[in-house]
Subunit: 245 residues, 2 copies
């Protein structure tokens, strides 16, 4: 491993560069669970940083569950390091593909609307703001796994107006193209009715797990998504430790 250590990108604080350099191969699977990460002293030499700086990067990775650290044994890539925790942005396409199924999506509705219309608005925006409304069905093979109701703030993301979303779904496209600094998830249960039930192949009244996600870039709301999942199929998982107080 020491032969081809990932390089720094020169962007931002040194400890974050080191964090990113180590996180990338962990998250994309190049370094499998249980793989040993070089000791602090070795990283110190490799990246020309002091031990405190290397320690801050590793401590941060451990705090977020990507690695486990034990004295003497060293720093190892954690089990479930690639798992999507509840409190992060995840994308259904990646989830389906990781499960080994074919991912596909269909855009059923696409429309420029304003925040006062029947699709509602985005929290924190005037009713007059131009929004792109999308209704997207996501499938694993032939099976619908998520129905996405999405609003995009066209003032914040003007490129979305002409984007065809041919290869990438709107969710993937936004994750890749649009910067964001904060997100909020609200999780609730609701019965599927009408179009929602029909597109998910559910009987009307079936329980769905609904995740509402709004993201901001600084103070500017970027996008709002309401993601419907058949309740019995979809589960969100979070692992955590006691608060340190």
């Amino acid at each position: 491993m020491t032969a081809n250590m990932p390089a720094l990108d020169g962007d931002g604080p040194l400890w974050l560069q080191i964090r990113r350099a180590l996180a990338r191969p962990i998250l994309d699977g190049s370094w499998p669970s249980g793989a040993k990460i070089p000791a602090e002293t070795e990283l110190t030499e490799r990246y020309g940083a002091s031990r405190m700086t290397v320690n801050k990067a590793l401590h941060s990775l451990a705090h977020d569950g990507l690695v486990e650290r034990r004295r003497r044994r060293g720093t190892l890539v954690a089990e479930r390091a690639q798992e999507h925790p509840v409190f992060e942005i995840w994308d259904v396409a990646a989830e389906v593909r990781r499960g080994g199924a074919d991912y596909g999506f269909t855009i059923h509705e696409r429309e420029i609307v304003d925040g006062g219309g029947r699709h509602g608005g985005i929290d924190g925006l005037d009713a007059g703001t131009s929004l792109l409304w999308l209704l997207v069905e996501h499938r694993a093979g032939a099976q619908p796994v998520q129905l996405e109701q999405r609003l995009i703030n066209l003032d914040a993301v003007p490129a979305a107006r002409k984007e065809a979303f041919r290869k990438l779904s709107p969710g993937e496209w936004l994750l890749r193209e649009v910067p964001w600094t904060e997100a909020r998830h609200t999780i609730l249960a609701r019965a599927a009715r009408g179009t929602t039930a029909r597109l998910l192949h559910l009987a009307p009244g079936s329980a769905c797990l609904v995740v509402e996600r709004q993201t901001w870039d600084g103070e500017t709301p970027v996008t709002f998504a309401r993601l419907w999942h058949p309740g019995e199929q979809h589960r969100l998982v979070g692992r955590f430790e006691p608060r340190k107080y």
Copy 2:
């Protein structure tokens, strides 16, 4: 504020002591949102620690959303510092009381069972292990807000066998009495049927938000709880920032 700064408890690493000393008045509300926390240099003197150590405590608090830090402005107690994030243990009793309502609970079933019975077992335990089964209704005023199906590992928590849960609900009692090192939440939607629907005052088939929580102390499973909430009433909220990679 500087006059009556919270004292250290002398337990564990210095930076965690400082973290706890500052977290306590934030979480119990003594320091309201927006209150200013003394500057690093001042805490350095107050606690006789180096600036790096104080910085580590404050950085950790900021990472967990209890404070917000800006250059020049200083460190302020965060908005929503007392909010319950998705990925922590919360207790419905505290939630109801914070909302200003009267909290009450009723234990409808109580039984010593083994892991092979109709109530199921706890993940990671043999079918023969003795468990305490409880079915608990939680109310805000007269309104049921949560139905709790709970299993407690009596090998890990022998005191539960004779505990009457008179003043504290089982959830509160466990949080207070029993140490744990790891927890897992699984969130799903499910239709309420039979007893569940009846105790929650819902029509059969209504969508419920279900949180399953299992906790461990080291490698030992401690307790499993399945918490049912009327889907339209209960929401879980999580705020977060982009992954740093």
